[in-house]
């Protein structure tokens, strides 16, 4: 199925929660933007609906655009051999999004990494702690306004 067909199918099912599609022919992978309100239902629909069957979450990542945080889901269907990119935009002052850990188990560590780097809170995640940085690390390193610390546990950090 093409992204446009998937978008129409989703629009029929969820109306306003499915916001837009970006497919101007210039990008290799078009994407659908949805709202975070009804996310779990949308993801379950994408996973279980006949003709969609996105049974594999290839990647989950975060982006810091200047005006918002964005979580990107790269889905793949092993059954039908087609792929889809879903984006969710979050406000900068309160980046909270439902966890899709119970939809695809592979989201577990991906969500922890996104939390570690951007500070995006995944509600419903069973163990949302830092995965790469030390547990007592301050700040979220991949945010655009992040400043490199002067020292860590008495070790000087800058060159």
């Amino acid at each position: 199925m093409t992204t446009k067909e998937i978008f129409e199918k989703l629009k029929n099912e969820f109306n306003d929660d499915v916001i837009s599609i970006f497919d101007d022919g210039t990008v290799s992978e078009p994407f659908i933007t949805v709202s975070s309100k009804n996310l779990i239902d949308i993801m379950l629909f994408l996973r279980d609906e006949k003709g969609l069957m996105f049974d594999y979450l290839s990647c989950l990542s975060g982006v810091d655009y200047k005006e918002n945080f964005t979580v990107v889901y790269n889905l793949f269907s092993i059954e039908i051999q087609h792929r889809l990119t879903v984006k969710v935009e979050l406000p900068k002052d309160n980046p909270v999004i439902p966890s899709v850990e119970l939809v695809w188990r592979s989201a577990d560590w991906h969500e922890r990494e996104t939390y570690d780097m951007y500070g995006i809170i995944f509600e419903g995640h069973h163990n949302l702690i830092r995965i790469l940085n030390p547990y007592d690390w301050e700040g979220y390193p991949l945010r655009k306004d992040y400043k490199t610390p002067e020292e860590y546990h008495g070790i000087k950090v800058p060159y």
């Binding site: 940085n133 030390p134 390193p141 992040y146 490199t148 610390p149 860590y152 546990h153 070790i155 000087k156 950090v157 800058p158 060159y159």
Partner: protein, 200 residues
Amino acid sequence: MGLLDRLDNPYDVGPGILLGTVEDLLNWGRAKSDWYMSFGLACCAIEFMAVNAAHFDFMRFGTIPRPSPRQSDFIIISGTVTLKMAERIKRLYEQMPDPKYVISMGSCSNSGGPYWQNGYHVLKGVDRIIPVDVYVPGCPPRPEAFLEGMVKLQSKISHQAIFRKRQNMSQEDLDAIHNRQVEIEKQFQEFQKVQQELKH
């Protein structure tokens, strides 16, 4: 015929005497049987595995990988040292028995390497936490470069003083050692005090 005349005579099988100092003998033994800690960090560790494999055969230096820092003579910092790892490396180094040596392998552990500017999580040179004996440059270094570093370490070990170290030291170094001992004693006494208070 005296003893020295028999040394250079190839036709005399004799008792086989070599003359030298005990220090030379001990250093020869130390330099030729270095055990290292089996420990790798990043892509330099892959190159180090090539050093270990049949083609470069690291064991001909008399080295044996040890799984524990308590049995090792030297440690190879092979790769990027993150701040999270730095504390663990420091602890591993402290667990090694003296005399101990460090080879810093590759640009990352020498100076931070490609992460020197923007690496918020990278230690800019492992010599910020532990003393380094040999630096091997490269990103990553070829196995030949690492072998050169190993030769350098061996020559360093074989020229070190074992006996009468204090006589050859400067007064500054002796004072520093004395001050350190006093400090350690103070810390130990405080520790004992705290322990006794906890008992009561």
